[in-house]
Subunit: 270 residues, 4 copies
Amino acid sequence: MKRDVGAELNIEITDETTLEFQIAVAPQPGAQVTESLSFTLNGREIPLSEIHEISGEHGNRIHTFEAPVGNLEVKYSATVIGHADPPPVRDLDLSTYLRPSRYAEADKFFGFAATEFGDIADSVELLEKVPAWVGARLSYVPGSSDPIDGAADTLLAGSGVCRDYAHLVIALLRAVNVPARLVSVYAPGCQPMDFHAVAEAFVDGQWRVVDATCLAPRQSMVRIATGRDAADTAWLDNHKGSITVNNMVVTATVDGDLPRDAIEQLVSIR
Amino acid sequence: MKRDVGAELNIEITDETTLEFQIAVAPQPGAQVTESLSFTLNGREIPLSEIHEISGEHGNRIHTFEAPVGNLEVKYSATVIGHADPPPVRDLDLSTYLRPSRYAEADKFFGFAATEFGDIADSVELLEKVPAWVGARLSYVPGSSDPIDGAADTLLAGSGVCRDYAHLVIALLRAVNVPARLVSVYAPGCQPMDFHAVAEAFVDGQWRVVDATCLAPRQSMVRIATGRDAADTAWLDNHKGSITVNNMVVTATVDGDLPRDAIEQLVSIR
Amino acid sequence: MKRDVGAELNIEITDETTLEFQIAVAPQPGAQVTESLSFTLNGREIPLSEIHEISGEHGNRIHTFEAPVGNLEVKYSATVIGHADPPPVRDLDLSTYLRPSRYAEADKFFGFAATEFGDIADSVELLEKVPAWVGARLSYVPGSSDPIDGAADTLLAGSGVCRDYAHLVIALLRAVNVPARLVSVYAPGCQPMDFHAVAEAFVDGQWRVVDATCLAPRQSMVRIATGRDAADTAWLDNHKGSITVNNMVVTATVDGDLPRDAIEQLVSIR
Amino acid sequence: MKRDVGAELNIEITDETTLEFQIAVAPQPGAQVTESLSFTLNGREIPLSEIHEISGEHGNRIHTFEAPVGNLEVKYSATVIGHADPPPVRDLDLSTYLRPSRYAEADKFFGFAATEFGDIADSVELLEKVPAWVGARLSYVPGSSDPIDGAADTLLAGSGVCRDYAHLVIALLRAVNVPARLVSVYAPGCQPMDFHAVAEAFVDGQWRVVDATCLAPRQSMVRIATGRDAADTAWLDNHKGSITVNNMVVTATVDGDLPRDAIEQLVSIR
């Protein structure tokens, strides 16, 4: 499979600030990746030496830019040929991803999750039941949620976008003792096309991808960033000055037909 | 039916304060009530002229006492012979008790309630389904909840005491458009014996009592205070100084056998 | 003083529903009021006999309409000549408006309020300090808050609209033992003109109006609805069907110059 | 300086479960550490080969035990001679520890923190002002907080224990753009003696320790675990079965006098 993915961002920077981007695909060991990244400020291309790349915990790549006031154009594209090896399984991750996190507050869900799912001992079954439950209870409504909303807010509101679906899945799975985390992905076939967020759960000895929104086939997703929740995987973090995103275009395609997905399949992001 | 109810409270007042008690039974039009109330401070009985009785919105009686430092003993007892008329139906109440309140934040539950119960149009059916659902999801665990917990906290925690059960029932009913409120009651048969809290919902033209804890038969409950939630019905409110409740004994009995209750019956507090 | 106030609303009703309006001015004993109210559905005026008026707890007027599908035009206007008597002081209110409520969760603020304001014993001083503190900490940003936000959310967010300012003032005042409540008003001079929300606190034997937004002089406000918080004073409540507010125009003027207001004055809504 | 630290735990395991302990001191490069760890189940010592040690993100050591039903006795002691090198500074950490986390929800505090501390540009000054502010606003009250409480709850409640103080400090610092994290420590001099939690902030090129409780001198603290908040540093995590901690004794002493601490000093955990 050949996948072409990318993003074009136009950002107005009104105060000097530090920007962190997570838009480049994660390392894809075993696959062949060609990519291009450019930053253009007020029409002048910035040497990549001024862009600092930090390697995150799972190899996810954070591009940091000390941004002066001005108009910033960021363009990223990548072609991924073949499939990456399945994500590695590390002991520490199985501990870390059981812990409650900012938007997947599993510790608030112990009682609720035990009642709804406590009698299911098999994690393969949980991997099917929990997202089906979440998908049935939530409506996908762009604009219905806030960036500070966590899984508890989403459960009550009954609506949200992809990150909200994923956070609720993650909180519920952790609460019944299944390690789970968030992955931002390029998702060919996603409608509307945008950066997509899915859950990844440790089931039957592997990290399996879970998408309660069912917006795109999991088999062709390309991993960007992996973390506890959206606090770790934002495509843009701005901690200081004031900025405005004027425009954002995300692309993700496969050559040929999209793969067929079915909720009962165990799929890894590759 | 003859019901004997009462409470004995011993309170240490360490700072001068204003105390409000709601321990006397509400007016019981149609029934025959004899009662006795005494306040004793440091062993000396206080003339009832120093106790101010405020009549609440549904006739509930608030006894206010400007308390100096000292040890306060409060004793209340009442005998209720016969049954009161069913609670009156006022237009304003049907509006007020649809509104979200402090501990029954119905506005947070619109999405969740619509998914769980939105396809049930009949309020008689809702009156059976909602408390059954709440009763199945919560465990009665004394000490498991905080006084500042609302229905959303209770839903997640999966446990609570009578007021938590009632708040969750009320929030869910209001969210599907059934007026609902909290009633504090003396509840013969309740185990452990204590002040009890139940929900009251407007169904089929009358206010019907709902007790998702199923701790006591509804037919012999005696109404104390009625309001939006526990903020309106506390047996003791202390807004200023520091106090300690040393002891509290609640009694509630019927002559003869306790009535038999069944969840599918429509019962009013009388 | 002569005040002209009013509102014109255009509402699309897509499902049959019950609508409750609180747009008519409260009874103004001592002043002279002339008013007009009309409901027009799909271009045809509805006889006022089909509009049910419920009298709320403080005389506030709730106009209820069983709305079929269609386009509803509501027009209200009133002229108030002279000033109403100051709001009456009722024992029960002094108890009720100390209680925590949905959006003014005073019980969550006991610790915080005691630290910030606990050493101020005088309620006249609190009436000046609390709104000044709130006004300094919040930014007025339309669209920055959600309808389900309470005072705790507002404190953290540091921004909101008039109801958020009022809720935070009310929560803090109650937490330091000053009865406080919400009043919706027509507010001549308010920019942008809209239904306005202010707090009312019981200080020095009277209900005094508090407006931490300082958007309009308090002396010319006209009372609409009074209650615990915005749950009681919404200009429109819709509990069932789906509606869209197409348009809303609020007007409020005085003849002559606007009164001059100063934060240290004790003012009642009249 | 020579420090002797340790813990003795007695735990009743009523359901088979997996336990994770973080009670061993972190690697102390540059210092000399001798230590001993034993697990005894129902009076029989368990070979250390059955205890799995996972190395956490900052080298913190997680001891995992697949626990059958029974009584578990855990004993740990360590002697640390000399001081460890100051904690290393990694690029990724400066990004990670600006992110909001479960109990230090910095994203909820942006507005509030900007108002209280937004005009302080110097991180050295923030490091003094923020903990002083937190220390002045909170009361140390054992039992006053819940394990699910985050910094927002603590701010409102106005009370808590060491982890609550640290979470509020961390949330506020992150919200004004200072990387901050939680460290669990052995703290000689702490009264009452227990596992202690402090904040660590990146200021003036180094990680500096912040203890708003002022319960123990920072110079003699010994690092156990480092992470985003208490979700990462719990001395015991139990994700499955039911357990009871019967007893816990923590010890931490220095030879000679305790160091003198002063809030304006910049101190690193060593």
